[in-house]
Amino acid sequence: MFGSLNISASALVAERIRMTTISNNLANQNSIYDAKGNYAPYRKRVVVFAPGDPATGSKDGVHVRKIMFDQSPFRQVYEPGHPNADANGMVKYPNVDPTMEAINALAASRAYEANITAAEATKSMLQQSLRLLA
């Protein structure tokens, strides 16, 4: 029974990391410079989940296997006066679509809620089992 709580907890951690990545994508939707100040538009990050939990060494649960870059093309904006504009006057902006991010955020928070429900069910089952002793 205690293992079931571990499973739900691992999923909560994974979904939270997914949510953090989505927030990071949204925050950087207009960042065209990297941390060192070079012109390199921000690439959208995507989390990839895999079953199993390395934190507890269990086959059950879920963990973030990788945070990958979205290789889709950058958004091109026509800004001829921009210092980073190319020969055609186009500037590359991050390939982040706020609508997609909002939908993914909703999916992540619903998945989080589902896991909370599962954890609550586990807790109530444990509590009832413990009441047998009293």
Partner: protein
């Protein structure tokens, strides 16, 4: 386990039922945890076949001379095995619902329904076991 006190009547049957519900709960929690994992396919343990083998065990015990006191031998199925009072499960894939683009055939509503049902099954098992224990306690106290 105290012989003749805790291995009689409904107690072993309820024990198996609760063990099964606890183990199935783990499988369902795993399904919910992997609701957005690509290539993941939800698994489940068939409740009907478990109920069937439990029924078989109870009716087999009834053929004994003392119907309530005989040992409860639950015949193992492909998914559920009992060994030395411990449960071992091998869940199998639920091959229903459509396959999504991430190769996961999740059905959140179905899983949550199973979770709710399983929690209630566990609860009813616990409540009945509690009643059995209360009766034993009443007998021990020799007072109603």
């Amino acid at each position: 386990m105290i012989k003749g006190l805790l291995d009689k009547g409904a107690i072993p049957v309820l024990e198996r039922m609760i063990q099964f519900a606890a183990e199935r709960h783990r499988v369902l929690a795993h399904n919910i945890a992997n609701i957005s994992t690509p290539y993941f396919k939800p698994k489940d343990i068939n409740t009907d076949s478990f109920q069937e083998s439990l029924r078989e065990a109870v009716s087999r015990r009834r053929t004994h001379k003392n119907p309530l006191a005989g040992p409860l031998q639950v015949p193992g199925t492909r998914e559920v095995q009992f060994k030395d009072g411990l449960i071992q499960v091998r869940p199998s894939f639920i091959n229903e619902n459509i396959m999504f683009h991430d190769r996961n055939n999740r059905a959140l509503e179905r899983i949550m329904q199973d979770l709710a049902e399983n929690t209630l099954a566990h609860k009813s098992g616990i409540e009945m076991l509690r009643n059995e224990f209360d009766m034993l306690r009443t007998a021990i106290r020799e007072r109603v």
